[in-house]
Amino acid sequence: MKQLITLTVNGQIRELWTSVHKTLLEVLREDLFLTGTKHGCELGECGTCSVLIDGRPTLSCLVLPIEVQGSDILTVEGIAKNGRPHPLQTAFAELGAAQCGYCTPGILVTAKALLESDPRPDEQSIRQALAGNLCRCTGYCKIIEAVELAAERMRSHNLQPEGSGGSSG
């Protein structure tokens, strides 16, 4: 059965005619061609498909679009603003926190939610916040360092609005 669904994705309102039983993950990737969001299990086990729904990290493989009409959905494609990458994105690139890059979108949105609620997370809070996102490449070390670096840059950026951007690693 198909239905007209209205979703707000990355700040844009999208209307689509789609099967009601498709998951948000499938609709994002297959109907909206937002393939930045990846899948690792499609069973809610690996964190790869994380997106933000009203700011909360959510596994898009366990959500039906019909449930989140009216919510703000943010995917990795929506993190950069006007072509300017988010400090998390820059830090991940510079520190080698994205090796194969497949788990990266899910980790970035989850880390973004963390930094929005806690601009000064300690290492344990970062580990807690990202414990549901599996990564097989990095051993998580560079990911933790990149979140710390981004947090630090965001704090100094907030103090000095034009001072961010940072040096290259």
Partner: protein, 793 residues
């Protein structure tokens, strides 16, 4: 080569060339591709571990609305396999299934749901056969054969080699130990599920986009199975979302989507489910090991006899090579003057094992390094000093004819011993806390290709644009290790360019010269050397044209920061593009090629092809653990790991490889198990197949040791696999030190430690591990004399 020049990029931690694409969500992996008119493929898989296929009826499925095509084994009957000696796989099984999950039929339909529903319509009649599910059963059961081509019964391969004379060696020993070890199988668990998309064009050419580490081998296998000339097939490896060896075989789904695209004239895509990925496997072999070693009182090894039993699963895969690898690299760390290796691999009705990070060397390394710890205990020697006193010398040959070039293990041991306080702290730790040390070594690329040929292992082609951009073409495949970036950086370094001037085009059999693929830690060394060779003539042409223009000697010109200038008078300078245009005017279109073939210097015996490498990396690891003596629960508190990488082309990327290797090693050591019940995978999900999360990984302190190996580009050796190897034995040795319990098998679970602690309470020897090996009639070994000269220059 470039050793004398000042290096701008090499040795610095620049950002990977593809990193920004990954973080903004632009990088396209195989399943991200979508073509107009595309069909979706689903594969029907066997529910039986071992059965004859009596009948397959696709008719009912074809009647379902939305189904466009259906195929079964008879549509793709030609066998293939990664090794020429094990051509035993069928894209869809024809007469027999050999494991649960074996592919039997496939559907192409308008969408995935229809395809999945149509699988239920396919009628398959099976006649179940007895299933063989363990090493012991495989050796005992001769009546039922999984593969008729097996060397004997269900023994896929049986090997026996003796280097020197172990009896003479054991006669010289002051102390002899015999120990048994077991290393459970585990799997790669890449975050990306395998996917492949095929298109058969109006021009009669097939294009396959796939998440593969080895597009060249897929190219060859597709040509064979589809009976198409290779010239009509293009294989493109997309960025791979985690490989670790799990995407190095040609796979059934790649053949199937190609065939369906040819039959329907429409693009066809297949993406495996996570459960299918667990069955596709090719991961770490479960290996049972017996090791007998003789030692002098000071720790010098006089002889070693090593036996390994590999549970291969249902197909050959890389298994013949894996078998030899369980016996090949024991000799490259500490001198073993007399060495005998007996190994066998059995077929069982389970998903096939193959190469996982370290390819069949972590298992024997675990056995060897834990046994050394036991020797140190027996002989009252310090485990670090024992190893330091008996290191294989640099520039030498081992008893099994492997050539060692640089050897930085001593420095690695010193680094981790010092940083961890191994000497001072070890004697003073409270019960339940312990430190353990282990070492290892790994190949920097296999010295021989997978199929016999004399051609290069890696080729690089470079084109210079008039605008100053340089495009580098190479068949190498980036699986996240950063091979595209290393390739770009080396060409940028050689031509004095900034990294953003270099465009890399990789892993496309139509566009790029052959590189054998991302396996055996070969890419940095082999493509790096090929890139340096390819850059040299371009560099010479550009320098020569610039020299004429600037009226200086080419030898006095420097290429740096996108400029060409005089070393004596920097005001005499040209932009790179100006110099390139002058060179093009003089020499014509600017392009060049370079290639690399490893030196041939292995021994001359059967199996001598496995083990030789241009150079070996070395690692030393100390693990610190805290164990609850009441429950056996333990925590790895910290890992120190020093790695001899020759030269770090990019230290951040090398440390990333070390950290990732340590993580993967810890996963294998503490929790990961690919285990089955009556042929069914017990835990084919990412929830139940436990792998470490961010909460499980301790602090990892890495140290880079640089030995500047003349075989590698700028002196580089591998980093992607070697650092995994010492982790399991270091943790096992630490647990012994903390508890007095020897867990001689991997994974080391709390339950096993607890059982050991219980044995201790009852006054028994606290040891968990295998207690026997199957009786096997080993063949008379091939006897190989040690090399005449042990030191080489």
């Amino acid at each position: 080569m470039a050793e004398t020049r000042e290096l701008n990029l090499i040795g610095n931690s620049w950002t990977k060339v593809d990193a920004m694409g990954m973080v903004i969500g632009e990088t396209r992996f195989a399943d991200d591709l979508h073509l107009p008119h595309m069909l979706y493929c689903k594969i029907l898989r066997s529910p039986h571990p071992h059965a004859l296929i009596k009948r397959v009826d696709l008719g009912p499925a074809l009647k379902r609305s939305g189904v466009v095509a259906a195929i079964s084994g008879h549509d793709l009957p030609i066998k293939y396999g990664i090794l020429p000696v094990s051509q035993d796989e069928e894209a869809l099984c024809v007469d027999k299934v050999r494991m649960v999950g074996d592919p039997v039929a496939a559907i192409a339909a308008l969408d995935e749901e229809i395809a999945e529903a149509a699988l239920e319509d396919i009628v398959v009649e099976y006649e179940p056969l007895p299933a063989i599910l363990s090493i012991e059963e495989a050796i005992a059961q001769e009546g039922i054969q999984i593969h008729e081509y097996a060397q004997q019964g269900n023994i896929h391969r049986l090997v026996s080699l003796e280097f020197g004379n172990i009896e003479d060696g054991f006669a010289l020993a002051d102390h002899i130990r015999e120990d048994l070890f077991y290393y459970e199988g585990n799997t790669h668990l890449p975050m990306e599920q395998h996917a492949a998309l095929a298109r058969y064009g109006a021009d009669g050419r097939l294009t396959l986009w796939s998440s593969t580490q080895t597009p060249h081998y897929v190219h060859r296998a597709l040509a064979k199975v589809l009976e198409l000339p290779q010239s009509r097939i293009q294989v493109i490896a997309l960025p791979v979302g985690g490989g670790f060896g799990g995407k190095t075989d040609p796979f059934s789904h790649e053949m199937v989507v190609s065939k369906l695209a040819m039959l329907t004239g429409r693009p066809v895509k297949a993406t495996l489910t996570r459960e299918e990925v667990f069955y596709t496997h090719r991961g770490r072999h479960p290996v049972l090991m017996w090791i007998r070693t003789g030692m002098e009182a000071d720790g010098a090894i006089t002889a070693m006899h090593f036996r390994s039993f590999l549970d291969g699963g249902a197909y050959g895969s890389y298994g013949v090579a894996s078998t030899y690898y369980t016996g090949a690299l024991q000799t490259v760390t500490y001198p073993i003057p007399n060495y005998k290796f007996e190994g066998l691999r059995v077929f069982t009705n389970k998903p096939p094992c193959g190469p996982k990070r370290g390819h069949a060397t972590p298992q024997p390394r675990f056995a060897l390094e834990v046994q050394l710890d036991k020797f140190a205990q027996d002989l009252n020697l310090d485990p670090a000093k024992l190893r330091l006193k008996h290191l294989v010398p640099a520039h030498s040959k081992t008893v099994n004819h492997l050539t060692i070039t640089t050897m930085g293990l001593g420095k690695c041991i010193q680094k981790v011993v010092e940083a961890s306080g191994f000497d001072d702290r070890r004697g003073k730790m409270p019960p339940g806390k312990g430190l353990g040390l282990a070492c290892s070594s790994y190949l920097t690329g296999a010295g021989l290709p997978i199929y016999w040929n004399k051609m290069p292992h890696s080729g690089v082609q470079i084109k210079v644009d008039r605008g100053g951009g340089v495009t580098v073409f190479c068949g190498s495949t980036d699986i996240g290790q950063g091979s595209d970036s290393v390739l770009a950086a080396i060409v940028a370094e050689e031509l004095g360019l900034s990294l953003d001037r270099v465009i890399v085009v990789t892993a496309d059999t139509d566009l790029t010269p052959v590189d054998l693929g991302s396996y055996s830690s070969r890419v940095t060394l082999m493509t790096g050397n090929a890139a340096i060779v390819a850059a040299e003539p371009l560099r010479n042409m550009i320098l020569s044209a610039a020299a004429e223009q600037l009226d200086v000697s080419p030898a006095r010109l420097i290429m740096r920061e996108n400029r060409v200038f005089s070393a004596d008078d920097p005001s005499k300078e040209l932009l790179f593009e100006e110099a390139a245009q002058l060179a093009e005017a003089t020499y014509g279109t600017l392009g060049s090629v370079g290639s690399y073939t490893p030196p041939r210097r292995g021994g001359r015996y059967k199996g001598a092809g496995v083990g030789p490498s241009p150079a070996y990396s070395y690692s030393a690891c100390v693990a610190e653990v805290t164990c609850d003596l009441a429950t056996g629960q333990y925590e790895v508190n910290k890992i120190w790991l020093a790695h001899d990488v020759g030269k770090a082309i990019n230290p951040t990327l090398v440390i990333g490889q070390i950290e990732g290797s340590v993580y993967m090693g810890l996963g294998e050591t503490t929790m990961e198990e690919q285990v089955y019940r009556r042929g069914l995978h017990k835990i084919p999900s990412m929830l139940d197949y436990k792998s470490p999360t961010m909460l499980d990984i301790p602090e990892i302190e890495s140290f880079l040791v640089e030995t500047h190996d003349s075989e590698g580009p700028y002196g580089a050796k591998e980093a992607g696999q070697g650092p995994l190897l010492p982790v399991a034995p270091a943790v096992a040795n630490a647990i012994y030190h903390a508890t007095g319990v020897r867990v001689d098998e991997v994974p080391i679970t709390a339950e096993k430690v607890f059982k050991g602690l219980q044995q201790q309470v009852r006054g028994r020897r606290a040891r968990i591990g295998p207690t026997q090996i199957p009786a096997v009639e080993w063949p008379e070994p091939e006897r190989v004399d040690p090399p005449e000269e042990l030191l080489v220059e």
